[in-house]
């Protein structure tokens, strides 16, 4: 994979980070992502996150699970090996609902975890971008993809980071 160059600003405080995000986005800088040791309220809206589409994935996986469960049971008990249970029809819907419900939940849960893993670069053999290990300890990290900010001079971005309160600035290729 081609490496791209990032400018990484390290912040000590969440309030300073949120203000910095607002200032820099206001000045037209595109921020790749922020990494914080704990969830910071208001950071998502400051970064301009759109609403997660994970619920849509959940719905599709849920419908898939329900359809699979019903098809499986209708095929097994209705066609492949018809068997009378409790004096009911070969294929009677109420009996299939518990399994249908369970598979809906199982497939949608597993599917959501899977989708989340893939979009977060946590898939097997995937390599997550780690800009600074201290983001899991006590520092807030802001990463700026330089290839997506070609119109702004790198010195200006560095200046903006400094004036916004970044305690350190690095450049990294990942």
């Amino acid at each position: 994979m081609e490496k791209s160059r990032y400018l990484v600003g390290i912040f000590d405080d969440e309030d300073i980070l949120i203000h910095a995000v607002k200032n820099m986005r206001g000045a037209g800088v595109r921020i790749h992502e922020c990494y914080t040791p704990y969830p910071v309220h208001g950071l998502g809206s400051a970064l301009g996150y759109r609403r997660s589409r994970l619920p849509i994935a959940a719905f599709i996986f849920g419908v898939t699970g329900l359809s699979l469960a019903l098809l499986m049971q209708f095929y097994m008990l209705g066609i492949d090996w018809p068997m009378i249970v409790g004096g009911k029809n070969y294929a009677s819907l109420p009996i299939f609902i518990p399994v249908g419900f369970e598979l809906t939940v199982l497939i949608s849960a597993l599917g959501m975890v899977g989708v989340f893993m893939v979009i977060s670069d946590l898939r097997p053999y995937g390599k997550a971008k780690v800009f600074d290990l201290r983001a899991t300890d006590d520092k807030m990290v802001m990463a700026i993809d330089l290839s997506r900010n070609k119109r702004i001079d790198i010195r200006r971005i560095e200046d903006m980071l400094t004036t916004s309160g970044a305690s350190e600035i690095h450049e990294r290729s990942l």
Binding site: P55, F59, G86, G87, P94, I95, I97, P98
Partner: protein
């Protein structure tokens, strides 16, 4: 930020409620006259039906069945108002502080509910409850029923009436205590009243956990005296809870649209919507658990309940309407985030759910009381509207008696800044 707000129960609103009440009463009387006149046909056919072992019913049986459906339904709404207040105190919930006066006001219906229930039971008990006939317990009578006679220790007049008075009386006592502290808190502030309310709420919840089940046995399950279901208490409770949540949401939305509850945002509506969504599924879970076990086990003394409802062309349409209105509709409509935050969807869902749980109680009561003679017409609609108007009048009157915002609620600040 917090303004003193008080609901104005204006004469225009009163007039509207009175008109609805009059419409309900008119439909009810008209329906009774029509069904009493139409009863002639029943009388003529009686010879044939009696020979076939059929059950004949009169216009007053239908009236008492309807009164009983609405007694159950509106008593449930009133007690769920207290229950909702209580769980929010016990959980020390902050988000609901802004709308806490609304469920609190529902409890004011309880004394009326108690009087109506006792009166209908004493006057129409024989029409509604098969077990109230004394010859069932007489060994020498041809009507002697050993199964019902075996339940005589629980199902007898004095004990039944004592239980009814105790349930509603003690529920009302807790309403009275919580309401008193709530109003005192408006004047004094501080944490003392809040802590007392938490204590009362905890005791009420324990009491209600038991009595919601036992009252459901008394008031609804004992109509089908031979039949039994261990899910029934939860089933009635979940039906009450969903309809109570729907009414709380509907009143909140209406007040907001009339310019009250200025601090209320779509964040609060979102939470109410989640409540309705979740407990609609909970109701379905309970409903289905009761159905599936009986369906699968296929024991005649249990399946009779569903045979009565599903093998009749008339009741089976209500049976499926019940599932559609109380599960599929709220489940599919409230699934997305946006629909929980927009009043138009919430109003639609609340209306359907409120009507749907009336159908649920209709399905609990009517097939047991009227057997195959159940109908749906002016009497049903009229009684529902009449009760609804009376309930709304009492609740809104009570709502106008106290400030709409409990300004000294310790969690009010959290509620105003609530963010889901």
């Amino acid at each position: 930020m917090i303004h003193e707000e008080r609901f104005q129960f204006t004469s225009a609103i009163k007039k509207q409620i009175f008109i609805w009440g009059a419409v309900g009463l008119g439909l009810l009387v008209l329906g009774i006259i029509l069904s009493a006149l139409g009863g002639g046909g029943h009388e003529a056919a009686q010879g044939a039906t009696a020979a076939g072992g059929h059950h004949e019913s009169h216009w007053y049986d239908r009236l008492f069945a309807n009164l009983w459906i609405n007694n159950l339904y509106f008593t449930g709404l009133a007690v769920i108002g207290i229950f909702f207040t209580a769980i929010n105190y016990v959980a020390r919930a902050g988000w609901s502080a802004i709308l806490k006066r609304i469920p609190e006001a529902f409890g004011a219906w309880l004394p009326f509910a108690g009087v109506l229930m006792l009166a209908v039971f004493l006057i129409g008990g024989h029409s509604i409850f098969h077990w109230t006939h004394s010859d069932l317990y007489d060994m020498n009578s041809p009507e002697y029923d050993p199964i019902i006679a075996g339940k005589h220790g629980f199902l007898n007049y004095p004990f039944y009436i004592i239980r009814m008075i105790l349930y509603i009386g003690i529920w009302y006592l807790f309403y009275f205590l919580i309401r008193k502290e709530s109003l005192a808190e408006d004047l004094d502030g501080g944490l003392l009243h809040y802590n007392k309310m938490v204590k009362y709420s905890a005791i009420f919840i324990v009491f209600f956990a038991v009595t919601s089940s036992t009252s459901a046995w008394d008031w609804a399950l004992s109509i089908d005296t031979h039949w039994y279901s261990t899910m029934y208490g939860w089933y009635v409770f979940s039906s009450w809870f969903v309809s109570g949540l729907a009414l709380i949401t509907l009143v909140t939305v209406m007040l907001k649209e009339h310019g009250y509850l200025k601090g209320l945002s779509s964040e609060h509506l979102h939470d109410l919507g989640k409540f309705i969504f979740a407990f609609s599924i909970f109701w379905t879970y309970i409903w289905f658990s009761q159905f599936l076990l009986i369906y699968y086990a296929n024991l005649p003394e249990e399946t009779i309940y569903f045979v009565e409802r599903l093998s009749s062309d008339y009741y089976s349409s209500f049976f499926f309407a019940n599932l559609f209105m109380n599960f599929f509709f709220p489940f599919l409509v409230l699934m997305t985030r946006d629909s929980k935050r927009h009043t138009i969807f919430l109003k639609a869902v609340c209306t359907v759910v409120l009507a749907g749980h009336w159908v649920d109680f209709y399905m609990m009561v009517t097939p047991g009381v009227l057997k195959e003679n159940g109908t749906f017409g002016l009497v049903e609609i009229g009684t529902y509207i009449l009760y609804g108007a009376a309930f709304l009048f009492v609740v809104l009157f009570n709502l106008s008696k106290a400030p709409l915002i409990a300004k000294n609620h310790p969690m009010l600040g959290e509620s105003l800044h609530h963010h889901t």
